[in-house]
Amino acid sequence: MFLKIPKHSEFAARRTRLYSAVLKKEAKKEETRWGRIVAEGALKMMLEGVSGFAVRPGDITISSSFSGKPFFSFNTSSTSGRQVPERFDFSVSHSDGVVGVSVSDRFAEGWVGFDIERIRKIPNEACEALLTDKEKKYLKRFAFSERMESEMLFWCIKESFLKAIGTGLRVHPKHVEIRQVGKKILISYRGEDQNARINWGKYNRSYIWSRVLIQSCLV
């Protein structure tokens, strides 16, 4: 059973859909496959909104590039020659019973990366590996529970950024550095500041999500 999470305006405004999967323990392995189904459903809704006509099951085929970045194509024979814009990019993430998909208009907004994670302590060794020295120094100022959430947020943003540029974990997360300046979050990649739009938030007090939009996709 896959339940759509009640509409949150912050998600709707960002063309992001979250679905809560009520999965029995033995079905948890299906969570990844459900992500694909959810992505198809969300794309269908987005494309119908833009194109103005019904998108049927089977009209969309989701594939992965050689780097693992998902993309979709339209089965034009099923649309009877109607011009359907294929300018959308999308990103899927799942964590412990929640699957999310975010869609962007590549021309208007750029490439999208989305990540959602259940909030929990990142193991020390993984933290040590993924955070830069500046990030570690910055995060030391927080008390434990705040630091736990901030570390998870940093992970989410790095993962979202790497998904948006199309490399995913093919690039080590340490090449992405996050800085927080007041309420603004800035990203640099391999030492260069990036013109990225970042949104983030918490869902249900148990999950952190982030969405990154960037103009250039590397792959």
């Binding site: 948890k28 392995k29 299906e30 969570e31 990844t32 496959r33 780097s67 693992g68 993430s93 799942h94 964590s95 412990d96 990540d115 994670e117 259940r118 990142i122 193991p123 060794e125 993984a126 590996a129 993924l130 998870m152 992970w155 993962e159 995913g168 974990l169 093919r170 690039v171 080590h172 997360p173």
Partner: protein, 79 residues
């Protein structure tokens, strides 16, 4: 137990511990996506493998992996 079996045993233990899965719930042929790990869990597993076997895999190596057995073979090759 020869070295190959030791590596396999260690990999199984680490997957079980880090992903919270029972040992008998996966096998060599299990697709990695069936481990239902989120991205952070996969990264944590990668770091644990690097520390345990004192080897670094390129991230391209990792994206060629499709099953648990592929992980074991990669570590055996690099060790």
């Amino acid at each position: 137990m020869d070295q190959s079996d030791q590596i396999k045993d260690k990999v199984y233990k680490m997957i079980s511990k880090i992903l919270g899965m029972a040992r008998d719930s996966f096998e060599d042929e299990t697709p990695i996506e069936d481990l239902a790990a989120d991205s952070l869990e996969l990264f944590t597993l990668l770091i644990a493998f690097e520390k345990e076997f004192n080897r670094q895999a390129s991230y391209e190596d990792l994206l060629e992996l499709h099953t648990v057995g592929d992980i074991i073979k990669l570590i055996q090759r690099k060790t």
